[in-house]
């Protein structure tokens, strides 16, 4: 397994948000985690990435055979975990190119490779900027500085493309996107699909699953996985809503 979550329990300020979540993601797979607001979806994604402020009170998150829980956020990133933020942070004055090259070089260094030359980086950077259809003028600003919500999501996709992690977690990347941007995100997820990596989509809506076919769909309700299944589960949710599962549980 690339990612194995075992009976994970997480509290924030004493309130239990995740109440025993178990999930296994094998290399080559795409999983979707769905659920209503407040079900714990974002908590799950953030705990995997190592965001401070969450108390893990039980269980484990094992990535590539090692527990992530004792690792710092940067160690997790260097190991190959990437979180596309629901609300990407603005970094005024921090230049995009410098930020991205530093991030890529940090990973290369970990893998024992030399830093990218300016020319190598430039080529990859320009291709990625084109792929996510983000204006070059915009990229001259600081990271996400003054970007609209949609532009920030494209910026996240640019980072995902360049960093090319083994495990990508997309935290509601689809929220608030128009259909063109949604297709673009789906295209990036579909193209990155390889036997050695995996993607976990955290989403509220079935909409993006019209463009990405996940191997598994999990429904998170009140801090627990209420049901897992294939893509048909997402369609059923679309038809019946989350209430149907609540009634059944």
């Amino acid at each position: 397994m690339l990612l194995e979550i075992r009976d994970l329990r997480v509290s924030v300020d004493g309130a239990e948000i995740l109440k025993g979540v178990s999930l296994a993601v094998a290399p080559g797979q795409v999983h979707a985690i769905m659920g209503p607001n407040g079900s714990g979806k974002s908590t799950l994604a953030n705990v995997i990435a190592g965001r401070p402020g969450y108390d893990v009170t039980g269980g484990d998150v094992v990535y590539d055979g090692e527990s992530l829980l004792d690792m710092t956020p940067d160690e997790r990133a260097l190991a190959g975990v990437f979180l596309a933020f629901q609300y990407p942070v603005e970094l005024p004055g921090v230049r995009n190119r410098q930020f991205l090259k530093s991030a890529m070089d940090a990973r290369r260094e970990r893998a024992g490779h030399d830093n990218l030359s300016a020319r190598e980086f430039d080529k990859m950077y320009r291709e990625a900027v084109r792929e996510v259809e983000i204006g070059e003028e915009l990229m001259k600003r600081g990271v996400n500085e003054g970007f609209s919500g949609g532009e920030k999501k494209r910026s996240e996709m640019l980072q995902l493309t360049l960093i090319d992690p083994r495990l990508a977690l997309l935290d509601e990347t689809d929220s608030g996107l128009d259909i063109d941007a949604l297709r673009l995100v789906a295209g990036i997820v579909n193209r990155r699909r390889r036997p050695d990596n995996a993607t976990v989509l955290v989403t509220h809506y079935q909409r993006i699953l019209g463009h990405i076919t996940p191997d598994y769909v999990h429904v998170l309700l009140d801090g627990k996985i209420a049901q897992s299944g294939g893509r048909e589960l997402a369609l059923k949710l679309e038809e019946k809503g989350y209430e149907w599962l609540k009634e059944g549980s």
């Binding site: 933020f85 930020f99 960093i163």
Partner: protein, 451 residues
């Protein structure tokens, strides 16, 4: 009376020695004598009560020290490479280098340009009447530091542009401490006169070797005539043990503009004291500053803008990066007089505190007597944002590297607006190395490429 006897006696001996030396015109001897009388009366502003301009800055350590007047030949042991290691340098500029306050022609470089650049001593000898009419016009000797500079000034520069002269070769004045012997004092003096509708780019650098203990007491007078524009930079990277008090006094005539950027770091105690007297309609000033303090340093930005005429604008835009147990002060006062209708005045001071022990006293203030004006002011102080740190770390950057990028990003707003390449690059380098030196040791630092 606020001087300690030893220190006072040292200054008095310097003054009497200068007076005996002779060779100076009577008008200059009179200016010195009046300034000395003033200093003898007020001393350094060490009072802890009722001393509003120096409320946050204790100059006791300066007042108690008996600093030595430098000898001729201070520059003898200094190489051009040492100057370039400390100060920004561009072969295309006209650069006058002063070592311990004494002009060093061998280290200086004169490039072709329209501005007339002379040493004060040279200008006094050649053109005494013109200098006598201008020296001390902008800089009042009310304050003890300016008084003692005026009484004991040794050398400096007179920079003049002719009426209607266009964009020109930048003029750079380097005031460097040699550190050859401890506890030297220098009294740089600069007089910049921009003729009507002319343009002048003036850079001042105040630098010294690491660990040297000295005192720089500088006074700069800048008079910007009608329709002229001056682009001014003040680059201060004094040694961490140095003392620096710099008074910049600016007068703007009608339609004149003054854009100044101060970059300040180093010094145990430093004061950047800037007054702009807006004395003509339609004049404007834009004052920017970036200050970086670390260790137990103390840096005081003291700014006064006097709006005396209508339809003028002033902008103050300062940023501070503080670490260790250092302390910085921003005191920006804008006075809008009764006649200065339609004034637009803005003030902003933003600070990044990198440690729990760092402190900022920020005090933007407005004193308004006109009724039809626009004025805004604001000040902030905060730590590096945790969510920004997490975001960067989630991309694989270690915490130190992330902090370093955030600090450089915070500084970029000021640094990137510096139009002179050599200066901008030097300032950016000082920000990144300065932060590394404050204890944020970075293993990935070298991985930060300038791309």
């Amino acid at each position: 009376m606020t001087h300690s006897p030893t220190a006072y006696e040292t200054y008095e001996a310097d003054f009497l020695r200068l007076a005996r030396r002779g060779g100076e015109p009577a008008w200059l001897r009179e200016i010195r004598a009046a300034a000395w009388d003033r200093f003898a009366e007020v001393g350094f502003p060490t009072e802890t009560r009722g001393n509003e301009p120096w409320k946050y800055t204790n100059v006791g350590p300066i007042a108690r020290s008996a600093f030595a007047y430098p000898d001729d030949g201070a520059a003898d042991g200094v190489s051009p490479a040492q100057v370039k290691a400390l100060a920004p340098w561009d072969d295309g500029w006209t650069t006058l280098v002063f070592v311990d306050g004494v002009y060093a022609p061998a280290l200086s470089r004169i490039s072709a340009g329209a501005a007339r650049v002379r040493t004060i001593s040279g200008a006094v000898a050649a053109d005494g009447v013109a200098v006598s009419e201008r020296l001390g016009r902008c800089a009042s000797i009310e304050d003890g530091f300016t008084a003692v500079n005026t009484a004991l000034m040794r050398d400096g520069a007179v920079v003049e542009t002719q009426d209607d002269s266009g964009r020109d070769t930048p003029v750079h004045l380097v005031f460097m401490a040699s550190g050859a012997s401890p506890d030297r004092v220098s009294y740089p003096r600069t007089l910049a006169l921009a003729g009507r509708n002319s343009r002048l780019t003036l850079v001042e650098s105040y630098v010294g070797p690491p660990d040297a203990r000295y005192f720089t007491n500088a006074v700069v007078e800048i008079a910007v005539s009608e329709g002229a524009s001056v682009e001014h930079y003040r680059y201060m990277t004094e040694s961490e043990k140095a003392f620096h008090v710099g008074a910049t006094r600016v007068r703007l005539d009608a339609g004149a503009s003054f854009a100044s950027t101060s970059f300040a770091t180093g010094s145990r105690i430093a004061r950047n004291d800037l007054n702009v007297h807006i004395d003509g309609e339609g004049a404007s000033c834009l004052l920017k500053g970036l200050y970086l303090t670390s260790g137990s340093q103390h840096l005081d930005n003291h700014i006064n803008i006097d709006h005396a005429k209508p339809h003028c604008s002033s902008d103050q835009f300062f940023k501070g990066i503080l670490s260790g147990r250092s302390r910085a002060v921003f005191s920006g006062r804008v006075l809008v007089r009764k006649d200065a209708q339609k004034t637009v005045a803005r003030q902003s001071d933003k600070n990044l505190l990198l440690s729990e022990g760092a402190r900022i006293n920020t005090k933007p203030s407005l004193e308004i007597y006109a009724d039809d004006i626009q004025a805004t002011h604001g000040a902030t102080a905060g730590a590096v944002a945790e969510d920004a740190l997490f975001y960067m770390r989630s991309r694989g950057l270690d915490e130190d590297t992330a902090r370093q990028l955030l600090v450089a990003g915070f500084a970029a707003e000021i640094i990137d607006s510096i139009s002179l390449d050599a200066l901008r690059e030097r300032a950016a380098l000082t920000v990144s190395s300065g932060h590394a030196a404050t204890g944020a040791k970075s293993q990935q630092g070298r991985a930060i490429a300038d791309v």
